[in-house]
Subunit: 211 residues, 2 copies
Amino acid sequence: MRPTRKHIIAVAIALIERDGVGALSLSRLATELGCDVVSLYDHVPSKSALLEAVAEAVASGMELPSMPEASWEIRLRAVAGAFCGLARTHPRCAVLAAATPGSARAKRSDEYVLAALHQAGLRGPDAVPIMRAFLAYLTGWLVCQAGPPGSPADPRPTGRPSLRHREFPPVTCPAGELHPTDPDADFEFGLDLLVDAIAARCPAPTGRMLP
Amino acid sequence: MRPTRKHIIAVAIALIERDGVGALSLSRLATELGCDVVSLYDHVPSKSALLEAVAEAVASGMELPSMPEASWEIRLRAVAGAFCGLARTHPRCAVLAAATPGSARAKRSDEYVLAALHQAGLRGPDAVPIMRAFLAYLTGWLVCQAGPPGSPADPRPTGRPSLRHREFPPVTCPAGELHPTDPDADFEFGLDLLVDAIAARCPAPTGRMLP
DNA sequence: ACCTGAACACCGTTCAAGT
DNA sequence: ACCTGAACACCGTTCAAGT
């Protein structure tokens, strides 16, 4: 059975989501595909190249809608939503995809965020650092939820991603105020925090488009 | 030559910084230590336990000064500075340390940030999501600079951490405005953005302590 | 009782031997 | 010319054989 490159990547993604990046091996992948290990080298030059392809494939599933009518806030929230969607559909590949530098995902979301900021009246030297801060927040959120791939924390049981802090609450707490909270609500909160901060730096008074 | 646990971890850190996490193997570590591989198992139960110990050791070097006289902004900036210091002294272990969930580092910085926010007048349900957003930004910054450990991007030549975007500029750019910028300045900018946003949610007018 | 070398199951990758 | 199995160097971990 000769596998196609698409099929190889698809099964690799499934394996990573099931058992973690650390559990992915070419041998396992080959047996899963029902072919010999060496046949993989016809489509993928090395294991690290396979991982890059996986990151690219997963990230390309990230939807960044064009929405010609939408405000810049809606656009920024769309990027955030795309990150969340990635974390929901491919929790273990998401970190790989989100943090692999220079990926097509990185370029696409860079430009998408820059376009939104452009729409908000933020240009060049003003926009780029804001874009980086915004994407750093989204990436950090992803990583804080999932842990870095290949880390000792990686081969955990899969499931809905949840904050680790629930399982490891701090021993002491200054005001004893660290109750478990809803990760989604926390994410939204931090997003609001950033969007408001960005709006405060906008030339336009409310940041919305004028009629 | 019987190695001590401390020595094992120290050499492991050095090896990771020199060649990347992916290049760390118990065999290599043993030869570097001048002992047999199996002797390592006297002090470390497994390789993943070793990686956790490395993360913990590196993170424990993060300095969070108490500064009883300082304002909450200064404290928050101290945490950011500690993250930066980590990225500077141990670029490759930093991501491991910053993103390993439930680590002592996580608990310490959680509490430190909460204490600073408490000082700013932010309590309980107000403070926790802000803390998470703040640390997510710092973590995301670290990961965006270094790439996730074990990722295809990891075994790169070491050096001063720099933004990947310099090497992979976007092909197209909405306003053609994505010139290379100073990573440190960008980091400071995002930090200011967040601190300002937090200050805007503070009960106290300026966020500074009253005399 | 304790240490340690050989041994085991696995890994990524290569390459020469077959078709 | 092309595919593929055996082979290579390495890996994490175990365990029985030695002291």
